[in-house]
Symmetry: C2
Subunit: 325 residues, 2 copies
């Protein structure tokens, strides 16, 4: 595939158009995407991937904007994947919110890309992960992965991050809901934004107590390793006036250092890779099953006596013989 | 396996203890369960499986109780699988509610069994489906499958039913929520219970309008075939005093006849079998992947340079070579 190797070559050189094309391929699940990824994988792993999630209107995009600004001052090359939720209703508002980040669009060292769910949840996590790989391979050493909300698909997307920031506000509901949504287990840094609103210190206090007691409880629900000495900090910010965002960027840096010094980075990424391979296996097995199950042989069988069909035997046949079975 | 063939033989003769043991095997995902199912499958398919779902407190158990009574009057042999939701909080209330059905427990021709989710959702649908098969094989020609709520796992469980009844009440929230939850697509009969409560006629009217307009819209989201001439009836009942329950039982009978006359029964069951095989394939592929991914070879690889690991290649190896790969 000369087209793919040429695309990979240009992408590795930092060509923005090649990057855009590559991300489109992974987003559209184009068969070429796999070949492209295979060619660039060896050049990935050096970018620090920061996930940021929180409810709509919590000020994530403003925070992202300021984080990007800090990173650019330190001459980092930045990639951003903004994942849109599947709901068609909130689309407009969220896109509007993200316009803020677009002020960096004139900067060739900031690449921002939106990615929509299109009702294909598992696919979204995989597309986001591969898009981050391409950003990494193209020399972006700081990547932001932004999602909205705390649903299952957002949690999956967040499993791509090295450092996960959870943004909340005094008005986004009480802290207990955060535990329920499984967020406590994935957060490495908490931000209480809109710190000028009433109740902000109380929310921060509650979060700190939760974080502290969670450290001493059993292994997290999401199979992540214990964080060792890391206790997720809770940072009060006021993003609209840029207040305390430097503290946030500092916490991200400290977390990155901790990950690297303790070997936690390698452990986390190994765990992510395991989860990714399992997801690919499951998806391909399902595809294979659908192919067999909607093939002619099966259609004929399903017209006969259904009681004579052993679903377990057919499942095993599909697994052993593949799509030809 | 002499134990399994003996168990199968006794189960086919209608032995209740063999039935109980068999259901326990499928619930516990015991390796023996598969052999048992294989031996009895040819004797299944004649039972009419009625699913019944709705929010807690909507009176499902009282309705089940009365349906069982009607069936017993017609000398049917009855099996009931009551699926408990995974939430540990509602457990007590629901069990209490089900005590009502236990008045049939002295009747050897009514077999009632609760089944808990235990945080294993996919497994619950499969266990419920197999338990129904065992009831069917043991000569129960009418089976009830009761679930609470309308979550994803309940929808999966309901896909085992030939006829699905959705129970609502004037106070369980507006009808629009029913569409959202994907319930409209699976319901064959709607019941508005507690018909004496204010708003009951309005809820029934809204449901009838929804059902009517849905019939003329595109194919359902859940891939089910169009229902042809069947327009799901909306029945107002007052289960506590037994009002209009005969109408419900009559609707169930009419639906069963329609399924059988039009060939829709075979089509539905073929589609269910396809979905079941796909689920088994996916589950086994995931198991196989986990085995490989947590094996020694993989652990060693994941300690090295992660960038050199191609997740797609490993996934394909797992799919092609199996658990030995």
């Amino acid at each position: 595939m000369p087209a793919v190797s040429d695309l990979a070559r240009r992408l590795l050189l930092g060509d923005v158009r090649a990057l855009a094309r590559g991300i489109r391929l992974v987003e559209e699940r184009d068969p070429m995407a796999e070949g492209l990824l295979r060619r660039v994988l060896a050049h990935t792993g050096s970018a620090h991937v920061v996930g940021i999630t929180g409810p709509p209107g919590s000020g994530k995009s403003t925070l992202c904007d300021l984080i990007i600004e800090c990173w650019r001052r330190e001459n980092h090359r930045v990639g951003v994947i903004a994942v849109d939720p599947s709901s068609p209703f909130s689309g407009g508002a969220i896109l509007g919110d993200r316009i803020r980040m677009q002020r960096h669009s004139g900067d060739a060292d900031v690449y921002i890309r939106s990615m929509a769910a299109r009702g294909h949840l598992g696919g979204l996590a995989s597309a986001a992960r591969n898009a981050i790989r391409l950003l990494d391979a193209s020399g972006r050493d700081r990547c932001l992965l932004e999602t909205v909300g705390v649903g299952q698909s957002e949690l999956e997307v967040m499993q791509t991050a090295d450092t996960t920031i959870v943004v909340t506000t005094p008005s986004s509901g009480d802290a207990v809901q955060i535990i329920k949504a499984g967020i406590l287990e994935i957060a490495d840094v908490f931000v209480v934004n809109k710190a000028d609103q009433p109740g902000a210190p109380r929310v921060a206090k509650e979060l700190r107590e939760m974080v502290h007691s969670a450290r001493f409880s059993a292994t997290s629900l999401h199979g992540r390793q214990s964080r060792g000495e890391w206790e997720p900090p809770v940072i009060l910010t006021q993003a609209v006036i840029g207040d305390h965002v430097d503290e946030l960027v500092d916490a991200i840096d400290r977390h990155r250092e901790m990950l690297s010094i303790t070997g936690e980075l390698v452990r986390r990424r190994a765990e992510q890779l395991r989860a990714e391979v399992e997801a690919i296996v499951v998806e391909r097995a399902a595809e294979r099953a659908r192919k067999v199950l909607h093939g002619e042989t099966m259609a004929a069988m399903l017209k006969g006596d259904l009681g004579s069909i052993d679903p377990y035997a057919i499942a095993n046949q599909i697994l052993e013989q593949g799509a030809e079975g």
